[in-house]
């Protein structure tokens, strides 16, 4: 073969690649295709993961005792528990477990599985175990406090009296998913309760069963034909790893994917102007916040903290950078929850900020280092703040990068990021933002944003937060939260909230029933397609 022949052959081969038949682009009518950045998915063990994308998968592979509908979050509905009774003293919850539910393995689901699963969550003691441990459950007491009295009855006793909704909301979280105990007994290694196995497999009873998961590539889940509520309409759900926002945008426009997630502001804006896709904004229980370290002499002055509230361009950001990512909110209780307020008294006011700085003794401003997460929209919000602060005489040395470790170690001056809680109750946010039982470094209450900011939260606020969590009367509880909300606003807090987060997804108009869930439990079995 001569070189000319080789050249011709190479040309023909290359051209034939393009000439290969190309299948039609639209996704199949009975399959749901999601695009996502799967880089941050950390296994599929419900009792270990703590991340949005994994949680959505787990929400559909497993089921929980209680269900929170996406559009009626405040009213717990029966899930695996057919019904429940709360004792008059508010400390004992008795659940009647639904019969006729089978796991993907074919095993019947009983109260023994529920008992084993909830105990497992607490005993593993990993990040999501907070959902039960915060109510006083521990590895030492859980065997006594959570018990199946027969195959159809589960009893949960709480060490203290808490508002019943807090317990029920926790039992609706992905972390309290019920696992197939008999199946996992065979898969356990070295007493790990099936932890290694569950990283890449499932042992649930949900509407979908995991078919395959190739991390950072593709996840396939098949409809579970024996699902007790009937097999879902979408016979298969696929999640494709697509880290590039622009690639997701092009593919959803072409109909190659049905749902696009983690899109950039530019792509969301572009899709919003078209007629094939709807931008779905799901409010989350968290905020974009600015933390001022109270160990810093200057930043600990209330008037300086107050000045920063006048340096945020709330309205300007709301119409641009934050259009899809958040809703303006300066109070601490997320919209839609008891005690929430629509009050937003602060606006960008450089002169007012300057006056407050002068009153605090800093008429010429000061210089500080400002850490911000280098992702959209957090970094743009930080840049805006730094620019406004400069006008008031405050020089902020804005540094992007992963500084969360320094924030947790209280080794920072200013830090801004975004938070997200999974309980649809004010307590979840307030516990982190407005309680700090021990402000000493040695206390290491690193799970609390208030401790990280070294903010000695006023005693009055902390007392009210604790009282509200234990209050069983809904009306009194709502009143308490209204008071807390006002007190927090007046306290010139070290944690300044500017926007309540929203999670934006682009959904093709032909897809019906895909409803973003504020506690990360978006269901696939409610989805249909109207081609």
């Amino acid at each position: 073969m001569t070189n000319a022949h080789i050249f011709a052959l190479a040309s023909a081969t290359a051209l034939s690649l393009f000439a290969a038949p190309f299948a039609s682009a639209a996704t199949p009518a009975d399959q749901l295709v999601l695009a996502s950045n799967m880089s941050s998915m950390r296994g599929l063990d419900p009792h270990e993961l703590n991340q949005l994308e994994s949680a959505e998968v787990v929400a559909n592979l497993y089921e929980r005792l209680v269900v929170l509908a996406a559009d009626k979050m405040s009213e717990p509905e029966p899930g695996l528990a057919e019904s429940w009774i709360v004792s008059p003293d508010g400390k004992t919850f008795t659940f009647k477990i639904r019969s006729g539910v089978t796991f993907h393995s074919g095993n019947d689901l009983t109260a023994r599985d529920v008992e084993w699963s909830l105990r497992r969550l607490v005993k593993l003691g990993l990040a999501p175990s907070t959902d039960l441990r915060q109510w006083g459950f521990s590895a030492e007491n859980v065997d006594t406090l959570i018990r199946a009295t027969d195959d159809a009855t589960l009893v949960i006793e709480t060490p203290e009296v808490w508002n019943a909704n807090l317990i029920l909301f926790s039992l609706a979280s992905f972390s309290t998913s019920i696992l197939d105990s008999a199946f996992l007994a065979d898969k356990a290694k070295d007493g790990d309760m099936g932890r290694a196995y569950l990283q890449t497999a499932d042992a649930g009873s949900g509407p979908y069963a995991l078919r395959s998961w190739r991390s950072n590539e593709l996840l396939i889940a098949d409809a579970f034909k024996n699902y007790w509520q009937g097999a879902p309409a979408m016979r298969r759900v696929l999640i494709r790893h697509m880290p590039e926002s622009s690639a997701q945008r092009l593919q959803i426009e072409a109909g190659d994917i049905d749902v696009a997630t983690r899109l950039s502001s530019t792509d969301l804006n572009a899709l919003d102007t078209g007629d094939k896709v709807t931008i779905q904004k799901t409010p989350g229980f968290g905020f974009y916040y600015l933390a001022l370290n109270q160990k810093d002499e200057i930043l600990s002055k209330p008037k300086v903290r107050e000045a920063f509230r006048y340096l945020i361009d709330y309205d300007g950001l709301a119409g641009t950078v934050m259009k899809f990512y958040g809703v303006k909110q300066q109070t601490i209780i997320p919209a839609g929850l008891p005690g929430a307020s629509g009050e937003n008294p602060y606006t960008l006011n450089i002169d007012k900020a300057k006056a407050l700085l002068a009153e605090a003794g800093y008429p010429d401003g000061f210089s500080k280092v400002y850490y911000a997460t280098p992702v959209t929209p957090e970094y743009e919000v930080a840049q805006s703040l730094a620019a406004n602060a400069a006008k008031a005489g405050i020089k902020l040395d804005l540094q992007g990068g992963d500084h969360i470790g320094k924030f947790r170690a209280r080794d920072f001056q200013l830090f801004s990021a975004r938070s997200g809680e999974r309980l649809p109750d004010p307590h979840a946010v307030l516990n982190s933002y407005a309680t700090n039982a021990d402000n000493a470094d040695a206390a290491k209450l690193t799970g609390l944003l208030a401790w990280r900011s070294a903010w000695d939260v006023p005693e009055e606020i902390q007392t009210m937060v604790t009282a509200a969590a234990h209050e069983t009367d809904p009306s009194k509880r709502s009143d308490l939260y209204t008071k807390i909300n006002a007190a927090y606003l007046e306290a010139s807090p070290a944690l300044i909230t500017s926007f309540q987060r929203t999670d934006a997804k682009a959904v093709r108009n032909v897809v019906k029933g895909y409803i973003g869930h504020a506690t990360w439990l978006t269901r696939w079995d409610t989805v249909t397609k109207a081609e």
Binding site: A4, F7, A23, S40, R42, N50, G125, Q199, T200, E244
Partner: protein, 364 residues
């Protein structure tokens, strides 16, 4: 021909020597092998040390990457210990080396799989992309460079140089994005990303993890065509970049040969242009070409991060990038070691091929 004769002499000498190895030659051979293995081991060890140290200097906290930033201190401490981070650095490194010696690269904190099994899954994706790109790059680049050298100063040469310059200067991620925009979003000629159409996902699994090969082995023709169609655009873009490099190098090597006296002699003897170029000049640049093709192939196998990201191609580049972002050190170290091994293997392979195509190298 002088060069041809010279080759024959060397070849005969080599053949005779290889038939009658004496003891000292064998000892020298063993010594060389030991020295080569020593160099390889040192290279790999150096790679591991540098990667390990840099990995520890990266500000990302691997524990938070696993448990999330809102986890409490008890959970943090527990996972910190589970990951072995409570041990002194030299102990961590020593433990890792011990595991590597047993071919255990540890478990990825992100994927939760053994790193070796992750590499076995992602590398074939990069391998099929890089191989196709190299074939395209060499298939077009080498002839283009040779023709440009032979017709130096003509329009063919100018076109070749412009094509090469464009290939060098165009950012590959930009080219990838434009190709997707034009050929996928506008014309609908190519698929948007991934290795295969949604319809064909999951139909072929193993044994090689190269979808093209596995589909062929399974006789799944629809999957085969789909996989081929998906790999086309990224492979052609990467192949174009490789072509730019290889055509410039081929042109340069060829120009140097065409200035040699034996070419003048051949022309003086009345030999035609084609045999002069392809039978004489080209034969003498094959070793150099092989070196640059091997280098280009190595570069592509190292992970074509940008193109893999633009085309959602789940290969080694994307795997390594994710691991770096989330401080997944087992995955980073395993990938770096694997890339080192691949580079060494390709270099060794090149050395072996040299011996087939250039008899002068056999005596050494």
């Amino acid at each position: 021909m002088a060069d041809q004769e010279g080759w024959n002499v060397v070849s005969i000498t080599q053949t005779t020597e290889s038939r009658l190895p004496d003891k000292s030659a064998l000892l020298t051979g063993a010594g060389k092998l030991t020295a080569s293995l020593g160099v390889i081991a040192t290279t790999l060890f150096g790679l591991l040390v540098i990667t390990f140290v840099i990995g520890r200097m990266v500000p990302a906290d691997p524990v938070i990457a696993v448990i999330g930033d809102q986890a409490d201190q008890v959970t943090y401490d527990r996972v910190y210990k589970e990951m072995g981070l409570d041990q002194p650095l030299y102990v961590q490194f020593g433990t890792y080396l011990g595991d590597v010696a047993r071919l255990d690269f540890g478990q990825s904190h992100i994927t939760k799989n053994p790193v070796a099994s992750d590499l076995a899954r992602v590398f074939p994706a990069t391998l099929e992309l890089a191989t196709l790109a190299t074939l395209i790059g060499a298939g077009f680049g080498v002839p283009l460079g040779v023709v440009a050298a032979v017709r130096k100063g003509t329009w063919v040469d100018h076109v070749a140089r412009v094509v090469g310059l464009l290939g060098y200067s165009t950012p590959i991620f930009w080219l990838g994005t434009i190709v997707i925009l034009v050929f996928y979003a506008t014309l609908g000629w190519i698929p948007g990303g991934g290795r295969v159409d949604i319809y064909n996902e999951g139909l072929v699994n193993g044994p090689t993890n190269s979808l093209i090969v596995d589909a062929l082995l399974a006789g799944e023709w629809e999957v085969f065509w789909s996989a081929l169609h998906h790999v086309a655009a990224p492979a052609i873009i990467l192949g174009y970049a490789a072509m730019a490099y290889l055509s410039r190098m081929s042109r340069s090597f060829m120009l140097e040969q065409l200035r040699q006296e034996y070419i003048l002699t051949a022309r003086a003897k009345g030999l035609g242009q084609r045999p002069i170029v392809w039978r004489h000049a080209f034969r003498n640049i094959r070793v150099q070409l092989l070196t640059v093709v091997a280098l280009a192939y190595c570069g592509l196998l190292d992970g074509t991060v940008l193109i893999e990201t633009v085309f959602s191609w789940p290969g080694l580049g994307q795997y390594l990038t994710s691991a770096l972002f989330f401080a997944d050190m087992n995955a980073v170290l395993g990938s770096v070691l694997f890339i080192g091994l691949i580079s060494i293997a390709i270099n060794l392979l090149s050395d072996i091929v040299y011996r087939f195509i250039d008899p002068r190298t056999r005596s050494s």
